[in-house]
């Protein structure tokens, strides 16, 4: 019980961890990691229903997908480009961060290493079965090993996109055209593409 309590106290910290992507965009009182996880779990559950996926698995993967951020940094695609001078950040945000293939591979490897270490630390003292379940669910998501993992991977991007559109309408600080371009490169799930069309209708 002691280890479960400590785990839950650590996970609870995500309720106050504001997502860096929105901080970079200078959004006041931005969404926290826990809020993002909540939104994704609901989104993946309701949209995953019609895809004949295992709902329990989908929801668990969504719940676990960002838990590593208790210890791992919340990286954004802009990180390698961000200047120290905060006033110049706007200029960076005007273009979508694109990198060479070599840099993409390097960034992904580093991110994966940090996040694996963080998740291992977080789950280290949990009972064996729970620890294994959490780690394997996370890898299903990270590496797209199962159809549930692949679905939540894309649903995660949609949840992020939806939040970005919401901020764009409220504060106008999001380069929505760049976001729209990005999302069309990465989503291929028919249900999520249909949902994307609905988002377009709502926000344009």
């Amino acid at each position: 019980m002691k280890n479960l309590l400590n785990f839950l106290i650590e996970v609870g910290k995500l309720k106050g961890k504001e997502r860096r992507g929105w901080i970079v965009h200078q959004i006041k009182k931005p969404e926290t990691t826990a809020e993002h996880i909540f939104h994704l779990a609901i989104l993946a559950w309701v949209l995953g229903k019609s895809k004949k996926l295992n709902s329990e698995r989908v929801i668990k993967i969504a719940l676990i997908h960002d838990l590593c951020e208790v210890y791992a940094p919340d990286l954004t695609p802009y990180d390698p480009l961000l200047p120290k001078d905060k006033k110049k950040i706007r200029e960076v945000l005007e273009k979508w961060p694109r990198f060479t293939l070599a840099l993409k591979i390097k960034k992904e490897k580093e991110k994966h290493k940090m996040e694996t270490a963080a998740l291992n630390k977080l789950t280290e003292k949990l009972p064996q079965n729970l620890k294994m379940e959490m780690r394997s669910l996370w890898r299903e998501f990270e590496e797209g090993l199962t159809k549930e993992g692949r679905f939540v991977q894309q649903a995660d991007k949609i949840a992020n996109f939806l939040q970005g559109m919401d901020y764009w309408k409220k504060y106008g600080k999001i380069q929505h055209k760049l976001w729209m371009r990005w999302i069309k490169e990465i989503i291929d799930n028919p249900i999520l593409l249909k949902f994307l069309k609905e988002i377009e209708r709502k926000f344009y």
Partner: protein, 157 residues
């Protein structure tokens, strides 16, 4: 089970075959009541972890893999005279809104946009297919974006 073709590169197909064989062995040990040695290690292949306590999920995954293997279409490089056209397996170098980028067009199972591998079923992947070097490919609704194809390469065998 969804009946559709799964486009895979040779490497992708090998990975699927290996996983299927691994699960088959695991199922055999489970039904015999043996505890596979791999379970004792925390560093084991992640695919097998999910199936530790859940035989029905193991079977579901095996059926899924069987379906993939039954409906696989191998992605191969087209003949040289057709390598100026974007097809599955092509790496496409583009210019978009003044920025350069490259995408390799693969099937959904191997797509990983963070590493530049985009799905042939994504709106951008679909739009690029069939185009040649120099073409300007329009991806619209509601924002219009033009992808200018600078170069096409086939890095697969």
């Amino acid at each position: 089970m969804e009946e559709k073709n799964f486009y895979l590169t040779k490497e992708g197909l090998e990975r699927i075959k290996k996983e299927y064989q691994g699960l088959k062995n695991l199922k055999l040990s489970k039904t015999k009541g043996e505890i596979p040695k791999i379970w004792h290690s925390e560093d084991l292949n992640p695919e097998y972890l999910s199936f530790q306590e859940d035989l029905s999920f193991l079977e579901t995954r095996m059926i899924e893999l069987e379906n993939i293997l039954k409906n696989t279409e191998l992605i191969t490089a087209p003949p040289k005279e057709k390598q100026n056209i974007v097809n599955l397996g092509a790496t496409v170098f583009v210019k978009v809104d003044g920025q350069t980028d490259e995408f390799t067009i693969v099937g959904t199972l191997e797509a990983d946009p963070a590493l530049g591998r985009i799905s042939n079923e994504s709106p951008v992947g679909r739009a690029l297919l069939g185009h040649k070097t120099g073409d300007e490919v329009l991806v619209s609704s509601p924002i219009k974006t033009i992808y200018k194809i600078r170069k096409i390469k086939y890095r697969i065998s």
